[in-house]
Amino acid sequence: MNHDSYPDSYIRGILNTVKTIAMVGFSPNTSRPSYFVFKYFLERGTRVIPVNPGHAGKEILGQKVYSRLADIPEPIDMVDIFRASEFVPGVVQEALALKPLPQVIWMQLEIRNDEAAAMAEAAGIKVVMNRCPKIEYGRLSSEISWMGINSRTLSSKRGQILPGGVQRMGLGNAGDKKSD
């Protein structure tokens, strides 16, 4: 995978299949980006499991915080990393020890570690670096367009409104074409 630019289909495929996300480096501070992402995916019905040794055992928005990936008692589809690039190899090693293996390792904006990515990819895990899943979800569902943001997608198909509200969009049809 070329990690400088990802095809929309690759990102869409990941966000469409992932049902359980473990967030490593999660902060319970409600003004931090990790909290925003946490809350956003919870509101979409995704299972999101916070991981932070400093807050292990607490419950945030009803979700139990774990100390390490190995402590999580259920299979994880995606590990979302909110740690600086130099800590990524350690997290990837922990992820590679999970059974079953996660399908995706995602690193947030400004976070990139190519060696760690290669390690994960060698084990058949999909990798995304230097992206935010909330922004990508907003972009590909067209929700982010409400904020005047260039979604770099065009489509002559109607977007999909999620049940349970008018201001929530799904990844259904919107955005067939790249436009940057």
Partner: protein, 427 residues
Amino acid sequence: MADAERTPGFNTLAVHAGAKPDPTTGARATPIYQTTSFVFDDVEHAASLFGLQAFGNIYTRIGNPTCAVLEERVAALEGGTAGLAVASGHAAQLIVMQTLLMPGDEFIASKKLYGGSINQFNNAFKSFGWNVVWADPDDIGSFERAVSPKTKAVFIESIANPGGVITDIEAVAAIARKAGVPLIVDNTLATPYLCKPIDFGADIVVHSLTKFLGGHGNSIGGMIVDAGSFNWSRDKKYPMLCEPRTEYSGIVLHETFGNFSFAIACRVLGLRDLGPALSPFNAFLIATGIETLPLRMQRHSDNALAVAQWLAGHPQVAWVSYPGLPGDKYHALAQKYVPKGCGAVMTVGLKGGYDAGVKLVSNVKLFSHLANIGDTKSLIIHPASTTHKQLTDAQKTQAGAGPDVVRLSIGIEDKDDIIADLELGLK
């Protein structure tokens, strides 16, 4: 996998960017969401929206789905990460500067700008403590010499209104980058069809949508485009972007919104607090206008070049200032920055001076005598007897509005009819 996704061209973006079929009704044209406010799904949803944790609509002063179509369209055409539509071109400049400057700060501006912008900078902005330092686009070194520790931004026009001055955007961008401040380019006269300032190093692009983007002389509007290129946190110089905002429970906008944080700051701080929102109806008219932008801009430019050539050979014309003419001072820069054409606007010096100017605007039948540019219709104004009447002759000449000067904005009518009308006016 990557090659399966095509990158659409400019004409396709002009028609489609931002405007997918309406998810609720399937309407293919962009609906005019003429509403002040939007219901929340529930209390939790409302809290997420107000906390900037969810994307969505709250209140039309802060955002509106019709305005959002226009924002995404202009952002896509300029190659930016995000746009913010506001009530006028001047409102765009106000919000950009309010986001970047604190009282006592300075910004550097080209002295060859639209006269209204010169007024705004010299008067309103000075009264806010944002001090303009003027530089000369004909002497790029003057931008460098104007840099001080208080400098927060540099402002230029790609093609200046009205004299057709073309600024060396790349050279000014290099100076701004060295100074660690963003370059703001007013791209009103060129539009992204003729020039994309972001490709030459602009960090922020502003527009008066009133002119060529709307294009039909029916709506006032403005736009801010975030290039996504500037690092707002590096020197800690921009507190609106790099410091925790108490009004949003301590979030740091640059950290949270990354490469579109400037556009978000302009929306959730500037537009929210200062208030110059664009009406959804205007957004609809302007977004519809943009669908034909490439066709119109090419015709404007082709017609204008033909008119400039004809005028340059007319016995009563002393000079024509239009960068499309081979002998023009800015012709070389034009070939680099606006190779497809130089747009619609030119100034003309009449040998007969003030009286000849008055006679011309009075005698024409196709040209409309009014204070605007960028309509489908050809427009004319004699600044010395109208917009600049209060000034002394010396001040008029200094402002490029001497008694002999007429400004034209060439429309998209048949060029032979435009020329015939000028011929009649000059008789």
